[in-house]
Homo-oligomer: 526 residues x 2
């Protein structure tokens, strides 16, 4: 059980799931809850039982399928409807029946919302809070209250907004979380209001922010400084509109920069892994720029600083990336010097001599001038390195020729067909593939040609394809750059091709993708 003095409260499964395009099954929610527990959050809000059948099901299955080590489950729901008793409201009953030890009630704290959305009186809204909180307390639940639209409400009617907090606390709510529901607050004003809420009511205050001003994380930190001891947020900053406060960034900031002891340090070292694992479940592409955990978060491009980084990396990064399970990466680019190529080589397991690294830098610069880029094509860089430092690049096959035909037929159908002529293991192989486009057809043809000789290619899959036209102005000298990402059962790699002809550029990237796939599989050159 986590320390109760400061709450890390996750709402990914409820508020995060409001994100456009994010649709979680019950199994997804259970899997995410396990990762959040592994990180060590104190509370996991599972959803709104009663209002959403999937959420009712989540709480039912959680009882037998979740074995939480740190976290407690919270069921989210509304205060009772106007003009009835909490004990008689079927939505309140659904909260009880969820058997969650914590219930988080959402209540209006903005006078105009009470009138417009609830269509009741300000006094009845307070009575709804009082009645629902007391009822659930009497049923043995711990109760938190989310004060919706609190900050806009405080601007509109500060006395009423504070009265909502007092009412909830007096009825037995342990925490009143102030919600910047529309996400428009900036940290200074938000901190003033939180401070006022803490001092004027004496209640325990929490904070729930959205990122509409790009300040959700900073707002959360400002609220903590002003006295809040309960922070809400979502994994990877998921949420409606611009998202909720990114709980991972909040936790890392508080723990690594403010000395809070929120999650076990060994769990924090899993943060990068957990963030990516959750994005696999949500099927939302990970944000490579995400603070702390993004794949670019500790990636350095500037060649200028590479030699100094070698001496003292901490002069160039805000924290040691190992603390959150991330790595410093040196990117190879046209600004790169010998030092960064050597670092990169070392990371790949090669100790380069001065002559080798100088030759490699020259080759990289030459190719980048033609439009190649290696910072996004690690596999191409490694093949180039193997080429440059000796006869380390295996030739599993050689190409005699290829041909691609794309045709729109008179009936409107579009078809693509590719034929490759390759030599491998002393054989001359001719193979043809069809595809939904020219590159797909080429990829198919290569597999048809090689899979008999190299069965491990069955596990290699082309998973992403990117195209960029360089210097497209007035046609002259425009070249096409193609980046291909491939995967096997163990991971992913990227390769690059450049040519004025998009098909030739794609072919280059494809040929390297296959070569690197065989290399990874441990295949030695024939």
């Amino acid at each position: 059980m986590a320390d109760d003095r400061f709450h890390v409260y996750d709402t990914t499964l409820r508020d995060g799931a409001q994100q456009e395009g994010l649709n979680l099954t019950v199994a997804d929610k259970l899997a995410i809850a396990r990762y959040l527990d592994r990180l060590g959050v104190g509370f996991i809000e599972g959803g709104w039982p009663g209002a959403n059948p999937k959420d009712t099901e989540f709480f039912r299955r959680a009882r037998t399928e979740l074995d939480l080590k740190h976290a407690q489950l919270a069921a989210f729901g509304s205060t009772r409807r106007p003009g009835m008793k909490a004990a008689d409201d079927p939505l309140v009953a659904a909260l009880r029946e969820s058997e969650a030890p914590v219930v988080t009630l959402v209540a209006k704290s903005h006078d105009r919302h009470v009138e417009l959305a609830l269509r009741t009186t300000l006094e009845e809204n307070l009575e709804m809070i009082r009645d629902t909180v007391s009822h659930l307390r009497a049923e043995g639940r711990r109760v938190f209250l989310d004060a919706e639209h609190f900050f806009d409400g405080y601007r509109s009617n500060p006395a009423y907004a504070l009265e909502v907090i007092r009412t909830a606390a007096e009825a037995g709510a342990d925490v009143v979380a102030l919600c910047d529901t529309n996400g428009g607050m900036l940290p200074d004003e938000l901190a003033d209001v939180v401070h006022e809420a803490v001092t004027a009511t004496g209640a325990r205050i929490g904070i729930h922010c959205h990122d509409d001003s790009g300040c959700a994380v900073a707002n959360t930190l400002a609220a903590v400084k002003a006295g809040a001891t309960h922070v809400q947020g979502c994994a990877n900053g998921y949420g409606e509109r611009s998202g909720n406060a990114n709980l991972f960034t909040v936790v890392a900031n508080l723990q690594l920069k403010r000395g809070y002891d929120l999650v076990p340090p060994e769990s924090l070292r899993e943060l990068t892994h957990i963030a990516h694992a959750i994005s696999e479940i949500t099927n939302v592409t990970p944000n490579s720029h995400q603070p702390y955990v993004g794949v670019s978060a500790f990636a350095h491009k500037a060649g200028l600083h590479a030699s100094a980084i070698k001496v003292d990396p901490m002069l160039y990064q805000h924290i040691d990336p190992a603390l959150v399970g991330n790595d410093m990466r040196m990117l190879v680019s046209d600004m790169a010097g010998r030092a960064s190529v050597e670092l990169k080589g070392r990371a790949l397991g090669y100790e380069l001599t001065r002559e080798q690294s100088t030759a490699l830098v020259e080759r990289v610069k030459e190719l980048e001038a033609q439009g190649y880029t290696f910072e996004a094509a690690d596999a191409s860089f490694e093949l180039l390195l193997r080429d440059t430092v000796g006869e380390l690049r295996p030739r599993y096959f050689t190409v005699e020729s290829w041909r691609v035909i794309v045709e729109r037929r008179p009936d409107g159908e579009v078809v693509s067909e590719a034929t490759v002529k390759l030599n491998a293991k002393g054989e001359r192989i001719i193979a043809t593939g069809e595809g939904n486009g020219p590159v797909n057809a080429l990829d198919k043809a290569v597999r048809v040609a090689l899979e008999r000789l190299y069965p491990e290619l069955a596990a290699v899959e082309l998973i992403d394809y990117k195209v960029r036209i360089l210097e497209g102005s007035h046609g002259t000298g425009a070249v096409t750059r193609v980046l291909i990402t491939s995967s096997d059962t163990d991971g992913e790699w990227s390769t690059v091709g450049v040519d004025e002809n998009i098909i030739e550029a794609s072919w280059q990237a494809l040929e390297q993708a296959v070569t690197y796939g065989l290399l990874r599989a441990g295949r030695t050159a024939p």
Copy 2:
């Protein structure tokens, strides 16, 4: 010329370009600069002339090709090397020769970086600042100084960090921008240091933040509150690692929430358009969650609040999205969408009826769901409008079939050939073209087929071609979007095609490009 009392300083073309995977051509940089100027920023940092040949070229071409209305160009560069004179340093000469009216010098302000990266004494570093600033001032340039690693430097040796500011200001630097180079600061501590810098030195202070703690925007706002009057940042938050402060979010926050008068309100209403247009140029997928301008930034799930939102939408959004040219998405179909389509139609010279604009909105939504985008393809939109409102889209030719062959021959030569079968003016025409790639070959074939009947096509040229793969994960459902820009003697137009097959997508855009070219030339349908 923008008001000099508060600077909005963009560094997309220099620091933003450090982003992993972002590679800008000179033409890209010129195009981005035009959009930034249209937004109304005060300064555009173009790059580091002398250190990077592409940047030298940018400043050379900017002199004739950029006609800036608001912004001034700034050239970025380093203080002179240790142990020589600024007047003799070739890198300083490159800054002069860029002819940029403003030079932004980067200087070390962290004692350990002076020793480790510059390998010189603390006093010599001050002398390098003094000498380089004075020299450039004597040459008639306005000089700003970027104090690199300032905040970490202030922790290490506050007296020295402040001395760097004083030295630069006394030598004639107008602004000293304090850089949180490693991006690890949180707003409270950062504000304290800025306040100290302002009061202890009396210099004009600027701020340059990175987002490694997820607080770059809030840090920038905190610095402004503490006395900074110059903010640096990048379009869409581009930049190394987790990115730079998002200049668009900073400007919107300051102007809409803090009453600063930074850019013309009518330009701010173009913010969403400008943000997306720049991401088309960088070919970085737009962040749908980006505050203010993201496609989800004002997207509300209907349901519970729908009726209340209808009565008073401002209760559910932090600003009126029209102020930044965005829309509340749930209302797009019945209100904002129709209104903007009507406006757009009027701009093109068509008065649409209510039924026509409703039908057009439906069609646009349908096509956008398939991956089309009309924001960057005005000509395609006009053809669609003409299709929708009546028989206004001329059919100069119809397509029977086409075929493209791309081949790499055994001698290594790559050739592309396309054959089209068209009907025009009652004739059936078969024509073949060769090109340096499949789309070029198709373009040639269409011209060979049509130029005899439509000689005005001789003036129509394909000047740019862009490709984006949409939803590329795991191959399934990935489609390719192609944007083609064409020109004639009077101007340019863009068309869009979408298909899973890149050649078919290109064909769609090409066919529309030719049709629109003939329409512009005043050719009536046969």
